[in-house]
Point group: C2
């Protein structure tokens, strides 16, 4: 271990679909400096990831000597280098063992964290990047529990014995956008401040819906049409139905005394806190920068920090 | 009763959102002539329903003397005249008692069939037009049973004692289009002939999904990504998941020896036949022109044919 905590030992990059974030990481995993850029894999001009990389890490004078680890959609088919997945259950050791070393145009080595796969009922599930965040949360002390990472494709990730046991993806965010933007359900919606009452009514409906989600969604049309909810509530009522359905399914096997840890600190995370409470689960918030901690944990497991 | 079966006694109009169909109806409810036009309520220029009506029925020389009955979205807020709903349970007598008489610019009376409403778990459901079709099916002998009307908004309608007991709407068709056209699930889809194997796999997944539909939908992405189904099957796999989910929910309280009657004779109706069979239900097809028979039954109940 390095005795000077402020001395950087690692560069970690969380490179996603729509943005990226790079971290200068100290000897206990703490973030010394970070930089964000709207250079997600779908935004990189001419797919010149090499140029973006050098531009990004060049800002740190010490970068040349530091090991680099990168996670996220950058390892997908549309990314810099497609890597295979490791299968659950897996933790930092398995991810360290499966790092994919890649040399940039300057001869700098980047170590890519592979994604993680699972299978339910004959169908595969995939994630790239979230596994590194959860490894970071485990590094900060979460040896067991359920995590939810709300978003376009929400992930529910269960952890025990300091490894990821299993996970499942729910298309909640993307389906919300498609239904709001491209079905009759969106026609009565208005931009408005968050309508918690409408959201809570939606959560209750989504939970009750069970297998009948395609039916209950029609109530987003009929409830305002019959004056049961004001039009201002309609968008949050839809949001609630989808999030309620997701939480109902994702927690169906979870004992009620479990605490669900929400990864994220934005408005969407707030919605999940409200919805989890309505379902009867306590929730907590993950620490910030768990992804940098994850880079640190994996690099350490791989012996890159010696 | 008129002794000459070929003599028209009624004009019936099924006026929907995207098209309309008018029928010249004989003394036992049979269709003597019919005309279709792409003049659904959203297509009528300047909302001049009166002009479309006169142009349409003017083709029949005897029209001036015949009573006219109309059903469908023409009685909705965006239609010619908004009418209230009657509540379930209801049959032809209740619809006849609630006909709304309206005089056109030429002094011709049009009798509008109101829609029908129900409520489940505090949320309303609505239909306009489908009730008239089911009344027609009942007039042709269906005193009891479950009907499905596949479409943008599928309706499941249960009948007993020759009246509509209850019904529920599922947004299956519209959600299919939104997911195919506006989410990542559509990106791998190709136009192809109907892929029955992929459809059946989807139906099985949709049935198993239960409350987890937002999760299973992600498999439409992962299955072709992992080579588990060819890309050509992807659209029908999605179609199967949604229809399987719908059928699972809509038949959850239905004894397995029931026959489900499918209203419709198109490709979509064929899909429902396959899916119902996969779930273990027998199916039958409703007769053609049940809507005209419905107009006849309601007009007869209302004493308009004397």
């Amino acid at each position: 271990m390095n005795s000077d905590a402020s001395k950087p030992v690692l560069i970690g990059i969380d490179w996603g679909t729509s943005s990226l974030r790079a971290f200068l990481i100290g000897s206990t995993g703490q973030v010394l400096d970070s930089v964000s850029a709207p250079q997600g894999i779908m935004q990189v001009k001419d797919r010149d990831f090499d140029a973006v990389f050098h531009d990004l890490v060049g800002r740190w004078k010490t970068a040349g000597d530091l090991p680099v680890i990168a996670s996220g959609m950058i390892t997908s088919r549309n990314g810099w280098l497609e890597t295979p997945y490791v299968a659950v259950p897996a933790g930092s050791k398995a991810l360290a063992d499966n790092l994919v070393r890649f040399e940039t145009s300057s001869g700098k080595a980047v170590h890519f964290v592979t994604g993680m796969t699972t299978e339910h009922d004959g169908a595969p599930d995939v994630m790239r990047g979230e596994e590194t965040q959860i490894v970071g949360a485990m590094g900060l002390g979460a040896a067991a529990g359920m995590f939810v990472m709300p978003g376009t494709h929400s992930k529910w990730i269960s952890v025990s014995d300091a490894r990821i046991d299993d996970y499942a993806t729910y298309m909640t965010g993307e389906i919300f956008a498609a239904l709001r933007g491209h079905t009759i359900l969106g026609t009565l919606m208005k931009d408005a401040a968050f309508q918690e009452e409408g959201f809570r009514m939606g959560v209750a409906s989504g939970l009750r819906a069970g297998a009948g989600l395609l039916h209950n969604l029609f109530h987003v049309r009929t409830m305002p049409l019959f004056g049961r909810i004001p039009e201002e509530m309609t968008a949050d009522y839809l949001s609630g139905i989808l999030i309620g359905s997701e939480i109902g399914a994702a927690t169906s096997a979870l004992a009620p005394d479990n605490v669900v840890t929400i990864v994220g600190r934005n408005d969407l995370a707030d919605r999940y806190e409200i919805a989890l409470d309505a379902v009867g689960f306590s929730s907590a918030r993950a620490a910030e920068n768990i992804v940098a901690q994850g880079h640190f944990e994996i690099a350490q497991s791989a012996g890159m920090l010696s």
